[in-house]
């Protein structure tokens, strides 16, 4: 394996250490339980609503309708819950080493900054992936009802992993930058808030301006420059997957994915750089 890729080997001792420590925490076992409880509750609620809506309309309810509703409910709930959890697992990962005075030991060993970063990143992401995969039985429900293509599941899972990876990378950058876990976690949440809320608000402003100026124009969906702020919104890649004419205008999921990938790589590079220079604060 070449020198550049060497820090990212699975035999990296940091990965073993991080996973061991993470799975020893009480929350490591409590969180999947709570996570599945929330998802199950949401799915049950969604099922109830869909059935009620069908009964209200008096039309015969199709299995595919339930399947799609369950699928998108699980995906969006997972996105929301995991976006809330990602900063907790990543933003405290390096600051905890500073707080318990162990970072000096790592930096004076033969572990490189990329190795340390990779260990922290893999550990945080793997835990989120554990939660993600624990919801597979619930997603399987949607396939039992029908109406969902396996490719939709692959697309949604891929987009989720990409978004979570980027958020974890940003969280680790916060963790490398700040000295205290409380500060870096707050910064991580602030960034997630900017991605989810602020981008939506900016999009809303641009959209209303565009709608005022397009009077009589032919285009009936917002152009790229209006949608651009939403590319940084974690929800955006999933909107185009929904079977809804109004939402199909959000037709640039690849741009959004590329932006998240670039953001993650940038955050990783800055985090490793900060980590290398963190000796001053020890």
């Amino acid at each position: 394996m070449n020198r550049f890729l060497a820090p990212f080997r699975v035999t990296n001792p940091m990965i073993r250490k991080e996973l061991r420590q993470r799975l020893r925490e009480r929350r490591a076992w409590l969180l999947p339980f709570l996570y599945l409880l929330v998802l199950s509750g949401t799915v049950a609620f969604c099922y109830y609503m869909v059935v009620q809506e069908g009964a209200r309309r008096g039309s015969e309810l199709q299995g595919a309708d339930i399947g799609q509703a369950v699928f998108y409910t699980v995906i969006f709930t997972q996105l929301a819950v995991l976006l809330l959890m990602a900063p907790v697992f990543s933003a405290g990962a390096i600051t905890i080493e500073k707080e318990q005075r162990t970072l000096a030991g790592l930096l004076t060993s033969l572990l490189s900054a990329p190795q340390i970063w990779w260990g922290k990143f893999v550990s945080a992401l793997l835990y989120l992936l554990l939660l993600l995969s624990s919801a597979l039985p619930l997603l399987a429900l949607s396939f039992a009802f029908g109406g969902v293509e396996p490719v939709a599941l692959l697309k949604a899972t891929g987009a989720l992993i990409l978004v979570l990876s980027s958020i974890c990378a940003v969280g680790l950058w916060c963790s490398a930058t700040f000295r205290r876990s409380v500060h870096s976690t707050a910064a991580g949440y602030a960034i997630v808030l900017v991605f989810t809320i602020v981008t939506a608000v900016v999009f809303g402003i641009l959209l209303s301006q565009w709608e005022q100026t397009r009077m009589g124009g032919r285009q009936d969906f917002p152009p790229v420059y209006v949608q651009a702020p939403l590319f940084l919104n974690p929800v955006y890649p999933f909107l185009s997957m929904l079977d809804d004419a109004d939402l199909r205008k959000f037709a640039f999921p690849v741009s959004s994915n590329l932006l998240f990938a670039a953001l993650g790589l940038l955050a990783a590079a800055f985090a490793m750089r900060r980590l290398q220079r963190s000796g001053e604060h020890l």
Partner: protein, 306 residues
């Protein structure tokens, strides 16, 4: 083994090191002494590759700390003032992790871990969690971890901070053994008695510069002698006798107690005691040693006498 030349380091306008230079040979055990903020920790962190210097050069075991940090880390063991340990790891796991972090391969890896466990006196507590250890034991574990990869140089930054007297004695003994094994040691500490006891050389540092270099009292022969005398009887007779000794100076006096400085060594101390007895004084206390490290520290940094 360690060559430091005109090292400078500023932290956001605050001076850490200001042209510090030092040379240590293989097997030296050098104590670094100075007031808080003198630059001791900065120097040790630069040598441990945790901090980059602004200018100057530092080489450890022939390797430049700025240009080949990985080679320096292979040769160096760094022990900070607070032993950073993973509380939620077992003692054996902690050592195994650092053995991997130093890229030790089997069978040397297992042997190094066993050796470290024995060195720390924790061989029978391998499966205990680190959080159950007292500070003294954590420090021992940390020192054992520091020695896992067989460093040729040890950099110890206030290693005795927070240790109880017994743990301090044990640490001192360990350092003496490591020194005897040929490991070069640079140790910073405020506990002057410990340094005086184990160091071969002591460097005074202030404002980022080495102010002076001394040898501990135990290894000084034929220099200045410091005596503490307490007697029963006439003060005038004692004063007359002391005033008659050529080169003697009274440093402190309190009733029938004097601390004096006079040139010479052990023979002069014997003559002094004999003279006091011959003068008809009943000597209650007589302590003759060279100026202690504490005294030299006071002289160097101008602190008040007790």
């Amino acid at each position: 083994m360690i060559e430091i030349d005109a090292l400078r380091k500023n932290y956001r306008g605050v001076r850490g090191l200001n042209g510090f230079s030092l040379r240590m040979d293989r097997g030296d055990l050098v104590g670094l002494v100075g007031p808080n903020g003198a630059g001791k920790s900065t120097l040790i962190k630069i040598l441990a590759t945790l901090l980059p210097a602004d200018s100057g050069s530092a080489r450890v075991s022939g390797e430049d700390v700025a240009k080949t940090p990985a080679a320096v880390r292979s040769a160096v063991g760094y022990l900070p003032d607070v032993p950073g340990v993973y509380q939620d790891m077992r003692i054996g796991e902690f050592l195994e992790f650092f053995a991997d972090a130093f890229r030790l391969k089997e069978p040397g890896r297992s042997a190094a871990v066993e050796r470290a466990l024995c060195l720390a006196g924790l061989a029978d507590r391998r499966d205990d969690f680190v959080e159950h250890l007292s500070l003294g034991w954590k420090q021992r574990l940390h020192l054992a971890k520091t020695l896992l990869h067989g460093p040729r140089v040890l950099l110890l930054d206030e290693p005795a901070t927070g240790l109880d007297p017994l743990a301090r004695i044990a640490l001192r003994e360990q350092l003496r053994q490591l020194h005897a094994a040929g490991i070069t040691i640079l140790i910073s500490s405020h506990i002057l008695a410990d340094l005086e006891d184990i160091c071969t050389r002591i460097v005074f540092i202030a404002d980022g510069k080495n102010v002076s270099e001394v040898q501990p009292a135990a290894s000084v022969h034929g220099a200045m002698l410091h005596c503490e005398i307490e007697w029963e009887g006439s003060v005038e007779a004692a004063e007359r006798f002391l005033a008659a000794i050529p080169g003697a100076a009274i440093l402190e006096k309190k009733g029938n107690w004097r601390r004096i400085e006079l040139p010479g060594g052990a023979p002069q101390a014997s003559s002094l005691l004999r003279g006091l007895l011959d003068a008809g004084l009943t000597v209650l206390h007589f302590d003759a040693r060279g100026p202690g490290l504490e005294e030299r520290y006071r002289r160097t940094f101008g602190g008040p006498r007790p």
